[in-house]
């Protein structure tokens, strides 16, 4: 349920409940993206370094 759904109510229960759900999903998503992004950057970085060394 999102705040745009008609079943949504702006009460404390909904805010806490879904707040935590979306917070957890965000943490998981950000964590995964961070690890993924760092990996990609490391890979690219290493590649460039090697390229530079060759030149």
């Amino acid at each position: 349920m999102t705040p745009f759904s008609f079943e949504w109510q702006w009460d404390i229960g909904h805010i806490i409940f879904f707040g935590f759900l979306y917070l957890v999903l965000t943490i998981v998503g950000l964590g995964l993206s961070w690890a993924g992004l760092k990996t990609v950057l490391q890979l690219l970085g290493l590649m460039w370094e090697r390229d530079l060394e060759e030149h």
Binding site: S5, F6, E7, G45, W48, D51
Partner: protein, 215 residues
């Protein structure tokens, strides 16, 4: 180290990559917007190409709603007739003296009226069997215009092609014309959220109670 420092021999790979991405993106859009709806909905033409506009001119009634109600009437107990049966058409259409020289009228008179056969209409606006919708509460009590939910259907000259969801068997008018569920007008969609949206907007949140619309 920035992306600008990509060596020249790598630049070709990058351009190729971006091109492939754009091609794939456009391809995905074509699939999502055109091919998928084509696969999802089967199309049927109505047995008779009914002209609502002509009928609207010729029926009695002071307001547009009253004109609609001339054929799509309420019974005494408040139930709504929906698409009229042929006896209603017979009130005006006489096989002896057709009202015009339209081919569609001829089709009606020979194929259905003469044989006393009901016309097998496709229902654009039929809700799933779990839904209860009292027209009388909306039309008579709340005084909502037919157009609010049915759009320009009442003034159209041609009947649109009926599209049926192959999986659920429901009309496309329920899900809405846009496959994305995007809605511009009140009549673009007929899902639960649309009922609730209107109830809320009109300050009738008590009608968002489940049993108001579900049976």
């Amino acid at each position: 180290m920035t992306l600008l420092s990509i060596p020249k021999e790598k630049a070709k790979d990058w351009i190729e990559g971006i091109c492939f991405f754009i091609l794939g993106f456009i391809g995905a859009l074509i699939v999502g917007w055109f091919l998928f709806p084509m696969a999802l909905y089967s199309e049927h033409t109505q047995p008779i190409d009914f002209n609502h506009a002509i009928h609207l001119e010729n029926v009695e009634g002071d307001t547009l709603t009253e004109k609609c109600l001339y054929c799509h009437e309420f019974y005494e107990d408040g139930t709504f007739a929906g698409i009229p049966r042929i006896e209603k058409c017979e009130d005006c259409h006489d096989p002896e003296s057709p009202m015009g020289d339209s081919l569609e009228e001829k089709k009606f008179l020979t194929k259905y009226q003469a044989q006393e056969k009901e016309i097998p209409w496709y229902h654009y606006y039929r809700q799933p069997p779990c839904v209860y919708f009292p027209h009388i509460s909306h039309v008579k009590m709340a005084k909502i215009a037919c157009k609010t939910c049915h759009g320009d259907h009442g003034t159209s000259e041609l009947l649109p092609v009926y599209q049926e969801n192959r999986i659920s068997g429901y009309s496309r008018n329920i899900w809405g014309k846009h496959i994305s569920g995007y809605k511009e007008h009140t009549w673009d969609r007929m899902k639960m959220d649309d009922c609730a949206e209107c109830h809320t907007k009109k300050g009738h949140e008590e009608f968002n109670s489940c049993f108001t619309c579900h049976k």
